[in-house]
Symmetry: C2
Subunit: 260 residues, 2 copies
DNA sequence: ATGAGTATTCGACATTGTCGAATGTGCTTC
DNA sequence: GAAGCACATTCGACAATGTCGAATACTCAT
């Protein structure tokens, strides 16, 4: 059925995606973005509104995403076995390294953070759960690309790769070379490729098939590169512990075969 | 158009709602829940899957909610003016009271937490953003019911009201009486109505129309009722500060007229 | 109050979604 | 490994639904 989706549902999802991008949009604006007549867009938006998936903004005519998405996403997070098992270990990791920790999974050509432990220094930090980062520009993403060749293949159908900073690897050949390195070393480094001034190191989490299904990263200021050996050890231990709880026979994982 | 939604989109939303309830469901199970043939359900699910709104579980045939919901909900939270403005004040409130704080808005017959400040005592607490609570069983909800009569009217079309604990108010007359009290006092109390052992006190947040659009609650153990006067003052100040930033001409808000 | 821009309603009809039948897949048991 | 059962997925006919242009209503700025 892939390739033959229900058009009305596809269009509804594209309305949500447009609102994700631009936040507040009127019917006519959505029509322009989606290349659809206003009356068609109106029908879609009203149908989504009925379920709280979109709402009209409080003082105007434009629409925005709605609260049902928040409720559903809470359930999504609750359903993730890897997240539930990682909570304790990522918490420990953050406490013992003094660093923020991210747990990420594959999300189209990106990685999405499904759990975030802020730096345990008492400062106020923006919650990161739900943030998406291009896979090739993040340590989390590079780990998943390295251990999941199908993910890399899928990504490479979408060249040109986006450049976030001057440090982002956008040449496919350079990226592939870097990913070989990741598998050899068992971890990936991100050095200002996604966010200036920010570095991170990520390692894979393996499931019961022994394949990488997630990645754990610690985040540090770029000026404090490279990561201390002690933190590296704690990072690897956390990932190994999560992997063991998921039933993984081995750690680090095997590189998945591409003909899954 | 309310009442004449696009059926395919309505069905897609109902698939999401079914997965919200039961977490993991196969096509046949969804068919039973939705009263639709498996092949129809399959088309819907595949269309949602294309956009990451549902995924197949890692080792099985059943489906679950997908990561796109997390990304979209992050944007939803980011879009909320009241939340952006409340972040600082709820943070202060939590610090100064030593209590957990919730910011909630109306969500069908419930209230949904759009921001959560954990108790600032360094203990690990479950994140509550995205949690929904029946409106009549929570201080947050009772404030909104009291100041937004249309919300109460909508709720009362859905009797019988659900009982969560032996303390929950389920008689419409008792609830309405309690809500009159809320407006007189300017705050609502929740005393083990939603969760045994848990109490909270909530006050309204007003927007530029001078109407309640959200509520802020502090959460305390039921054994520590009633809330200290000092904390009560801090709670009211936080709500007033958020309201002022939203452009409210007055605080506490007026009770909205029912013919909005 | 007026006008422009936009949202919403309405209804004809073509296209799309639906759904029953057939086929394929996965899992359990022997 | 084979068989059987439960369930998922594919296929295609056709009816119902979604689409979209025209008309109407609403909102906002001047």
């Amino acid at each position: 059925m892939l390739g033959t989706v229900i058009q009305a549902i596809d269009r509804a999802a594209r309305v949500l995606a447009a609102l994700q991008g631009s936040r507040h949009l009127g019917i006519s604006e959505l029509g322009v973005i989606l290349q659809l007549p206003p009356s068609t867009v109106h029908g879609i938006v009203k149908s989504l509104q009925e379920h709280g998936l979109v709402v009209k903004e409080p003082h105007g005519q434009r629409y925005m995403l709605g609260p049902t998405l928040l409720q559903l996403s809470n359930v999504y997070l609750d359903t993730l076995d890897v997240r539930a098992r990682a909570m304790r270990w990522t918490g420990d990791l953050s406490e013992r390294t003094g660093l923020a920790v991210r747990l990420g999974v594959e999300f189209f050509d990106q990685v999405i953070v499904i759990h975030h432990e802020p730096r345990p220094d008492g400062t106020r930090q923006m919650p990161e759960t739900g943030l998406t980062i291009p896979a090739h520009a993040s340590a989390l993403g590079k780990v998943l690309l390295a251990y999941r060749p199908a993910f890399l293949q899928s990504l490479l159908t979408k060249v040109p790769l986006r450049s976030l900073t001057g440090e982002t690897l956008v040449e496919p050949e350079l990226l592939e070379k870097a990913l070989v390195d990741v598998v050899e070393k068992g971890y990936a480094v991100e050095d200002e490729e996604a966010v200036l001034g920010e570095a991170s190191v990520a390692v894979p989490v393996a499931d019961r098939d022994g394949e990488a299904v997630a990645a754990i990263a610690v985040v540090l200021p770029a000026s404090q590169q490279p990561l201390a050996d002690s933190a590296m050890t704690l990072l690897r231990e956390a990932a190994r512990n999560v992997s063991r709880e998921l039933g993984s026979p081995t750690w680090p994982p095997v590189v998945a075969t591409t003909d899954d």
